[in-house]
Symmetry: C2
Subunit: 456 residues, 2 copies
């Protein structure tokens, strides 16, 4: 983008702002995301108010909070006033006192009330995700009245593609009309002639954003109304909010499965020490738990001394348990997220994983036995006089460890969910650690069983 | 759902079909997904044609292929004819010859041509994802003409919320008009008076579905036109297709990160042997690679014999390398997917991961040294005369292994992507295996350096 040169050449921010006006807002956002907070604030301050509002309204614009904080208070309040209330609430949520109260004071009573209301919902809930700028009409209006109303309010609504029809007396949600059906309706017919034939699909304000995403995707909606227990519409969650939420969710899931705290900024933008902080925490927790492997091995150090050959297979046997455990965990994490299985199905999963683990363990066991036999017979390595018993030990230990890994891996997400945690949260690295420690105990127990009296 | 009872009680499928007519299509789909192919086919065969088409049109209906195959050919062709062409192509893609050709023969020439065209695009590309049922008008039409046209074709189009404006002579895409702006326009004004002020955002037919999702999410679109190199619109990819694609993608990513082939059906629906097949493959590949740990340890078996105490820390040191590697890998997988970093940025990542790995390794190293000192001094375990040198060995080995894990983990996704693979494909389990084997070599090398002449 040529504006890059302009910043380098110290061109006035007002000139840059003017140049940016010709770009799509998403491209402006991408450009500003690459700049410092100071530069972005300068440029936005010099934009005409409606452009600046549009930029700040984009969830993908990363420094919205910082820019609002850095702007003069009257200007910041004007931007917040113009932004959609869900986005304004998102921004205010992260601004600290006393700045937050000062900014709230600058808003009109209506905007302040709308934002305050959104701030009462927990982060990532349907209530926090929703916008209060939607179109609703009483059910005794005609198609023409509704269309005229939409033309009037179109610019101030996040979406007009779904129109919410309310009971004129109670103002409860009774029907939903899509804009595409509305424009096909007879102008003088009642609005209900073009309404959808089934009851409105709704979400509760405390539903999670995954739940909202599931509803929107299942029913192919462009927006879902968030309705309280009395049947009144509090707001709507739109498909673009849901897509943004899904992308964030996916990133967090992958990072948590990788065994670290989710980071909320692009890789190259995160500071060095913040990166260390996000990664060191879990790494230390896992390291401290893995110390149990050392403790377990200390218990078996006499056996190890007698049969040093057992040590050779520890990494192999341990990692197989970890691998089977992370397979099972990732399967169940997704099955739970997609509601393919529910909490009460845990025993169905256990009943499946038990034979699956045994078969998978047996397959690896056979490969392990063949490997030892081939190396021994071909003279590549000498596993000693009792190599046949040793190979059986490895085979049986693999069955035990892979079965334990599959079972524990599939049940841990249920346990985490039952305890109120997100099952994706470090299930994978946790299960590897759990299986590592248990694996050593299983391995040495099997070894004692088969090798006692020979090399042990 | 009461219809469940009806099936148990052997009520006529036609009665069930009639009862289902009152439900939302997404709920019918959910109900039929829980039934066998035979039951679903029976019920769909008894539905009025438009309902059946609506059910088969839902991407979430799992047995569409099987039901189409099981239906009488004339009925199946009538359903395919009525379905949106992108969905019909998706279904035909998986039906085998000679059935596939027979079904194609039953279609009208127009439907056949549309479907054949879609079948030429690779699976999961924008071309395969798109529908050809969209609204386009010449740029010399008025707002009124366009609205009248939309009212006429509304029922046969997947979306009418974006209207594509074509040059009247060349039929190239020149502008996009949203329905919300269109209804606010002056009826007799030209369509271009309500067009978006910037060039249309488009996707190429060979763009991946992730790329399409990225465009739709970045620009907050309800649909993106798929345009060939000459500027002609081939079709449009809609936001609901993209959401479905994103959910599938996310499931596949999580499963692949868990070290298994992606499964394309819910956990409880997959057959036992198919489950084994999906999991055993990768498990065996990883097992065979992990055998290198045994080979590596065999090389150091003399050292191990002399200093059995070294074996106690192998699982701890190895798993720390694996954990740091999977952190780095999951970070870079997402950064690449979100295009936060590009292939050419690999060295920037390497330059960051090197000091990050050293610091993280040092943190774990210090904890490890303290652990050994405390156990030794408290008399919990005797690590021998040279326990101080041993603890330094563990500390230095951790720095080396965690640094190697972070570097290798962050660079493997680049390598996979460069070679044309999806970076999410088993990066995490692969890196664990790679780091395990290298970790043993690093560990024994460090041990030799520090303990040579004492216990080695």
């Amino acid at each position: 983008m040529h504006v890059d040169r302009m910043i380098q050449d110290n061109i006035e921010p007002s000139a840059i702002a003017a140049r940016l006006g010709r770009e799509h807002v998403a491209d402006i956002v991408e450009f500003l995301n690459g700049k410092s907070v100071e530069e972005a604030t300068e440029v936005i301050a010099h934009m005409p108010l409606p452009w600046g509002i549009e930029v700040l309204d984009q969830p993908l614009f990363r420094n919205a909070c910082e820019v609002i904080e850095a702007l003069p208070e009257d200007k910041a309040a004007a931007f917040l006033e113009g932004m959609s209330s869900d986005r304004a609430a998102d921004v205010l949520r992260w601004i600290e006192e006393p700045k937050k109260s000062a900014l709230r004071e600058g808003l009109t009573p209506e905007a302040r009330a709308a934002i305050d209301h959104l701030l009462t919902y927990p982060e990532n809930s349907a209530g926090a995700l929703m916008t209060t700028e939607f179109v609703s009409v009483p059910s005794d209006w005609t198609v023409r009245q509704t269309l005229d109303h939409i033309r009037e309010v179109e610019r101030s609504r996040e979406t007009v593609y779904a129109i919410y029809v309310l009971d004129p007396a109670s103002r409860r949600l009774t029907n939903v009309v899509t804009l595409r059906r509305l424009i096909s309706g007879e102008p003088d017919a009642g609005i209900l002639t073009v309404a959808q034939p089934y009851a409105p699909i709704t979400a509760a304000p405390n539903a999670s954003r995954e739940e909202v995403a599931r509803i929107i995707s299942k029913y192919d909606l462009l927006a879902v109304p968030v309705v309280d227990t009395t049947g009144h519409v509090l707001g709507i969650a739109t498909v673009d909010d849901v897509i943004d939420a899904m992308i964030t969710e996916q990133t967090e899931d992958v990072q948590r499965m990788g065994g670290m705290e989710a980071i909320d900024a692009p890789y190259l933008d995160i500071g060095f020490f913040q990166m260390i902080k996000k990664r060191a925490g879990w790494l230390c927790v896992l390291f401290l738990s893995e110390m149990l492997t050392t403790s377990a091995m200390q218990v078996f150090s006499d056996e190890l001394e007698k049969a040093i050959v057992l040590a050779l297979f520890i990494p192999l046997v341990m990692s197989s348990g970890g691998n089977s455990g992370s397979q099972a965990t990732s399967l169940i994490i997704r099955a739970l997220a997609l509601q393919e299985v529910r909490l009460r199905d845990w025993w169905k999963v256990a009943v499946r994983e038990l034979p699956t683990g045994i078969v998978l363990g047996a397959i690896l066991g056979v490969i392990g036995i063949i490997r030892i036999a081939v190396w021994q017979e071909a003279g590549i390595f000498d596993y000693g006089e009792y190599w046949k018993l040793l190979s059986v030990t490895i085979g049986v230990a693999l069955i035990g460890i892979v079965t334990f890994g599959s079972l524990a891996g599939s049940l841990l997400p249920f346990a985490l969910k039952r305890l109120g945690f997100d099952p994706a949260t470090s299930s994978a690295p946790f299960i590897a650690t759990l299986v590592d420690v248990t694996g050593i105990v299983i391995y040495f127990s099997v070894a004692w069983l088969f090798l006692h009296g020979t090399i042990l």
